[in-house]
């Protein structure tokens, strides 16, 4: 198992390098002269050129890439252009913490729920209950987060006044309060994942139910409960877990929107602002961190799959 994880980590490296190149290239193509941007439109051209040189912008691109990559790996992420007295590292740390709290909160609730719902629907395939579950989870999952966010805010915050419309509690509130404020923002995230995960769990269940070994288990005279938990579940979860891992990409996209709608200082919000304001160091760091999280979550999913599936475990 250790070898398995080690190999996967090793395989991540070239992908990571490629991603870093892409990220760097993308942020480089942002229009505008950075020096000009920092000094403003009224500064003289020579001052701008001087600043450019000082910041190293006149060096060839691949030199700058390696410098940046080198710094990044050693933890020197630079200073933000927007918040000039804050290091990028501290900003990202703070933002990431917030986002992980929100996402974690949503996932902890929704992942087990969707799996249970999906398996349940799969077991009762084509029944009325299954159709209801499938259709409603499908419908809820495809609604963009800002739409569901808007509707939720209008209903629960504006009309009924049950929940707050902002995601951050007032300064000085106890930590636990944060969860109360996170309920409304977490719901669109939950709905986003519910449909997708439930659908995969259902499909996995249906597929497994058709397998010969389920017939064997049933014809052995095992009670339905045992067949489901010990035979169906273990095998049906494999594609589901894989999918959950790759869903993180969408989750992060969803975070971007939710954080904008609810004005929450998470990493998505910071990334969008960094893009809009040409804050290169912050932008590059944020996108790279997001990419790493995506890859790590895929790795975790693969490890869980390997734990579930002895064939993969043994062959590594």
């Amino acid at each position: 198992m250790a070898r398995f994880i080690g190999r996967r980590l090793l395989l991540m490296v070239p992908t990571l390098v490629l991603v870093s190149i892409l990220v760097f290239a993308l942020s480089e193509i942002l229009p505008g002269d950075l020096g000009r941007f920092i000094l403003g439109p009224y500064a003289s051209q020579s001052a701008v050129t001087q600043l450019d040189h000082k910041l190293g912008f006149d060096k060839p691109i691949y030199v700058r890439y390696f410098e940046w990559a080198g710094h990044f790996v050693t933890g020197h992420w630079g200073t933000s252009y927007q918040y000039t007295n804050l290091s990028v590292f501290s900003i990202v740390e703070h933002a990431l913490g917030n986002s992980l709290l929100l996402a974690g909160f949503a996932l902890v609730i929704i992942v087990p729920t969707s799996i249970a719902v999906g398996v349940f629907a799969g077991l009762r395939r084509d029944s009325l209950l299954d159709r209801i579950i499938t259709v409603s989870s499908l419908s809820m999952t495809v609604i963009p987060e800002f739409v569901s966010g808007v509707i939720l805010i209008v209903i629960f915050a504006v009309e009924l006044n049950w929940l707050p419309a902002s995601a951050t509690p007032p300064v000085g509130s106890p930590f636990v309060d944060r969860f109360y404020y996170l309920i409304l923002p977490a719901i669109p995230l939950m709905l986003l994942e519910l449909g997708y995960i439930a659908r995969m769990a259902r499909a996995g269940t249906v597929q497994v139910l058709n397998q010969p070994y389920i017939r064997t288990a049933t014809l052995k005279g095992l009670p339905q409960r045992r067949v489901v938990f010990s035979h169906v579940l273990r095998n049906a979860l494999v594609p589901t877990v894989t999918v959950i891992g790759s869903q993180v990409g969408w989750l992060i996209g969803g975070l971007v929107v939710i954080e904008t709608v609810f004005v929450y200082p998470g990493i998505g919000n910071y990334t969008v602002h960094a893009a809009l304001n040409h804050d290169q160091p912050l932008l590059e760091a944020c996108v790279l961190v997001i990419a790493v999280i995506y890859m790590v979550s895929n790795l975790v999913a693969d490890v869980v799959v390997a734990l579930l599936n002895p064939r993969i475990r043994k062959s590594s």
Binding site: L138, I153, V158, S246, V257, T260, A275, M295
Partner: protein, 298 residues
């Protein structure tokens, strides 16, 4: 050339059997179509979708003018203005109906692009395997690791906000996912005997990929396409909301929601109308997609 041991009337029996087989084929195709149309969710989705398609084409003919700023500012829904008016006095209903147009152009075209590019990449990677496959999939994995929305924002910030850019960007960003699906479908077909037979005829790779394998993987591609369509609508709307879609004064739903956000507390209908319209459109697309993929799996 007679079949061994045939008596004269046996030929007739075979003819009957053959005719029966052809009739059976037609029956089965009709049955699939009939199942589709029997599914209430599919029909509901189809109806809604057709409604929006109709509106996308004809809205200006059936509603008030969406650009007419003559009405009262932020008026509540009434007989004259079914969904009220917005902060410039425009009829919200008319604007909402007109907003269907943008999404219904961008999403299908972006999906078509994604299917085309993803299909090509997936075919090549899946058929050749080995080093080619490894390299292509590493690149695909790298692109998949980039968050879609953010990457889209960056590129749109560079290239500007227009129909063409949105279509190409969304299409390009969906390509990796599609290529994954196509690749795994190709891998499933690649070791089949008819492919081996083609190789033994000396067929070139391009022929085998396009004429032998591709016709057999249309089903997963169609299913993937319908799913992507839903996500394309989703993504286009999200980008608009974040300010990277079309320019104002387009009645594009995401744009309207974003720009009318400040009126949420006081005049929620201005925001709710496009929000509900968008929700209904996305749900409709996905119900249709779900119906098609279920019909195929029966």
């Amino acid at each position: 050339m007679a079949t061994t041991g045939t008596t004269p009337d046996r030929g007739d029996l075979e003819l009957q059997v053959n005719a029966a087989a052809e009739a059976e084929q037609r029956r089965q195709r009709r049955f699939v179509v009939r199942t589709l149309f029997r599914s209430p969710t599919f029909l509901a989705g189809l109806v809604i979708l057709l409604f929006w398609i109709f509106m996308a084409v004809f809205s200006t003919h059936v509603t008030q003018s969406p650009t007419n700023t003559g009405g009262a500012i932020l008026a509540s829904p009434s007989g004259a203005h079914w969904f009220g008016t917005d902060d410039l006095g425009r009829d919200v209903f008319a604007r909402t109906m007109a907003g269907a147009h943008t999404v219904l152009i961008i999403a299908p075209l972006a999906t078509a692009l994604a299917l085309l590019w993803g299909g090509i990449v997936g075919l090549i990677a899946g058929y050749h395997r080995g080093l080619t496959d490894d390299i292509i999939m590493r690149i695909v994995d790298a692109f998949l690791a980039l968050p879609v929305i953010i990457t889209a924002i960056l590129i749109i910030a560079l290239l500007g906000r227009s129909y063409a850019v949105l279509i190409v960007v969304i299409g390009a960003l969906f390509t990796p996912v599609v290529s994954r699906t196509v690749r795994s479908a190709v891998i499933g077909e690649r070791e089949r005997e008819y492919v081996m037979a083609a190789r033994l005829r000396g067929e070139r790779s391009a022929f085998v990929m396009a004429r032998e394998i591709l016709p057999n993987i249309t089903q997963p591609i169609i299913v993937e396409g319908t799913v992507r369509l839903g996500y394309a609508v989703f993504t286009a709307a999200t980008l608009s909301f974040l300010g990277f879609g079309l320019e104002p004064p387009s009645p594009d739903w995401g744009l309207v929601i974003a720009s009318e956000w400040s009126n949420l507390q006081t005049a929620p209908w201005v925001v709710l109308a496009p929000a509900l319209a968008l929700a209904s459109m996305v749900v409709a697309v996905n119900l249709v997609a779900d119906g098609i993929s279920s019909a195929f799996s029966k």
